[in-house]
Amino acid sequence: MSSTGFADRRGFLKVTGVLTGYLAVGSPLALLAPSRAWALDLAAFTGGQGATLMAAARTLLPHDGLEDAAYAAVVRSADADAARDPAVLRLYTDGITSMGAGFATAGEEQRVAALKKIEPSTFFQLFRVKALSVLYSTPFAYAYFGYEGEAFSKGGYLHRGFNDLRWLPEVPPADGGPMPDAGS
């Protein structure tokens, strides 16, 4: 799991809780990781609080084929914020309480209803943006959504499909332009 860095704080931070899981068998990341098992040490939240936040992240952005490790990355980032700032920790712990006991194991309909109730709260809005900004930037999300990422080291997309769309008419030369390295 070195590529996600989940375990990189172990050993020098107080551990308040832990979240664990397995990468899906077919996960492209499973090929890179030393083990399919992952563990996330928490520095501010309890394991129960972490599990509740993870369920909240999945309720906010439900992608059934996207593995738990991606949602755990959201929790990891929130946990780091909370560990840095007691006011943020309080906001989160109060917010987690406001979702109600049993949230983490409730069915999706109930989880959605619980979140709708707290939607106007500062906690909800903060955590929604947190989930958006972390989840879709994980290597899991890149793989899941097909996003190919950094391209400079591979010569860009000039010869790797920037113009491979064939289901619409081609653009006439006058309104486009020549390939820059053609005939030169």
Partner: protein
């Protein structure tokens, strides 16, 4: 690179190293004028640009606090970061999309063309359009703009093919792969675009023009430029004669320094430029420098923006390819029959999967939201950029609540949208929807866009009558002969065009004037 003495009162001090300041620094130094260029940010390079989108954002963006208010979206969605500007050598030319359309003739006569529009402070530009175009053409040559100055256009990307097919269905006639300051062939010592899709993160190839690796090193090569990085100007001082004579700044260690100056050019982008002038109040200039008209910071414009993203049945892979190489010009006209004054461009835009939900999608969560994201492979995007109308109370002031790391009040940005802006955005998003549907879109969503302004204009505007603004037709303060403004703050009105090309054009023109005035000892 030169080192000029702090006590050297023969230097021109330029504040900000972006499109305006960086270009001006090159133009003055190559004429033999000694320049001290103060840049608040650090110096990156094509080698150091991060290609991790959120890291790149943090690397280049001005993240010092600001405050905001009014009914515009940023005051609600992003009150501490109402504008997306850069704090780095090269300024916003490091992260810009490099879209470079021209300002239209009628836009330089906005007040005359639109008539009196209630609730606005429209004026005409004090520069004739022909004159502006003369320098715009020079800027296009310098920036190697595609489709101008003999440069070919960029080849069509997948995302552009969608936009183009839809535009043709709508009946648009002026759709093409854009005017962009991105090399469509190797020239100017820079390579050609390899369609990375990482324009906003800093172009690692240098195919996209930025003062960071064009104007600034060329200015350094003259031996006349003293570039001081991590140097934040906090105050411009003046003598008893009312002329400015020094700039106070904090250096990289936070220590206060005072650089003497023969003339000062402020190019900190419209928000920080106004803030610095306001911070420089004195017994003589009690409302701030160059502010006898009480117009510094007013008439703030930021363009009417709106994003439209659509999903299709088949793959688009919009992240592959130059981010903004696609333009529809047909709506960049003044046609009151549409229900608003002024015009807008429809521009191509793409997003990496991480930035898309933050920057371009409307508010949402749950199954519906996630199902739209599931279509990422099959997505295409466009945005509108249009002229917003100046209003006296849309303005930059000094925050009463928040101070920066140096203990100085940060900029407060207040905007109430004019009905004209709202009507233009509605029209633009309707047309964008038709474009997407014309190409076969299955689902289309709209948002006001990254809830931050990237084009900041008008806060020290040029005007023929000194009561209407801050600077004359040369960007020279009406009140102070040796004080200049050299960025988008001087725009008399916003026009629809992305502003950088015109900022460069005005800097080229201003450099001739400054050097002439120095030679004839007027400054």
């Amino acid at each position: 690179m030169a080192r000029h003495e702090l006590g050297d009162d023969g230097v021109v001090v330029i504040i900000g190293s972006g499109a305006g300041g960086g270009t001006l620094a090159h133009e003055l130094t190559r004429r033999g004028i000694k320049v001290v260029l103060l840049e608040a940010g650090k110096r990156e390079s094509t080698a150091s640009f991060s290609q991790v989108p959120n890291e790149a954002f943090a690397q280049l963006t001005w993240l010092d606090p600001r405050t905001s208010s009014g009914d515009w979206a940023p005051a609600k969605t992003n009150p501490g970061l109402p504008a997306w500007l850069a704090k780095t050598v090269g300024g916003t030319t490091t992260h810009w999309g490099a879209v470079t359309p021209r300002i239209s003739d009628w836009e330089t006569r906005a007040r005359s063309t639109y008539g009196e529009v209630k609730g606005t402070s429209l004026i005409d530009w004090p520069i004739a359009h022909d004159e502006l175009m003369k320098y715009t053409a020079l800027a296009e040559q310098r920036l190697c703009v595609t489709r101008r100055a003999g440069n070919p256009g960029l080849p069509p990307s997948n995302n552009f093919k969608v936009m183009y097919a839809g535009a043709k269905k709508v009946g648009y006639r002026r759709a093409h792969s854009g005017y962009v300051a991105i090399n469509s062939r190797a020239q100017d010592g820079r390579g050609f675009c390899i369609q990375q899709g990482f324009c906003v993160q800093g172009c690692k190839l240098g195919a996209k023009w930025s003062t960071l690796y064009t104007e600034i090193p060329r200015a350094e090569a003259t031996g006349n430029l003293d570039l001081r990085i991590q140097s934040m100007a906090t105050r411009i001082e003046h003598g008893s004669d009312g002329r400015v004579n020094a700039v106070v700044y904090r250096d990289a260690n936070g220590a206060e320094q005072r650089q003497k100056a023969r003339a000062v050019c402020v190019a900190g982008n419209a928000i920080e430029t106004a803030r610095l002038l306001l911070l420089s109040e004195s017994g003589k200039f009690t409302r701030g420098l160059a502010n006898s008209s009480d117009q510094v910071g007013r008439n703030y414009c930021h363009h009417v923006l709106g994003f439209t993203v659509a999903t299709f049945d088949k793959p688009v892979h919009m992240w592959r390819g130059t981010s903004q190489a696609g333009l529809v010009e047909d709506e960049a006209i003044h046609d009151p029959k549409r229900g608003f004054a002024g015009g807008y461009f429809i521009e191509l835009v793409n997003f990496d999967v991480g930035s898309l939900p933050l920057a371009a999608l409307p508010y949402g969560w749950g199954r519906d939201y996630a199902s739209f994201m599931e279509g990422y492979r099959n997505m295409a995007g466009v945005m509108i950029v249009g002229e917003d109308l100046p209003r006296p109370d849309n303005r930059i002031t000094l925050s009463r609540t928040t101070k920066d790391a140096h203990g100085l009040p940060v900029a407060h940005v207040h905007v109430d949208e004019h009905a004209n802006d709202v009507a233009m955005r509605a029209h633009g998003q309707r047309q964008s929807q038709l474009v997407m549907e014309g190409a076969g879109a299955k689902r289309v969503v709209h948002s006001q866009g990254s809830p931050m302004a990237t084009h900041n204009l008008g806060t020290a505007r040029m005007c023929a009558d000194p009561r209407d603004g801050v600077t004359n037709a040369w960007g020279q303060a009406h009140d102070i002969r040796n004080l200049f403004v050299s960025d988008g703050s001087v725009f008399s009105t916003a026009a629809a065009a992305n502003p950088t090309l015109s900022i460069v054009a005005l800097a080229l023109r201003q450099s001739e004037y400054i050097s002439r005035e120095m030679t004839s000892r007027n400054i």
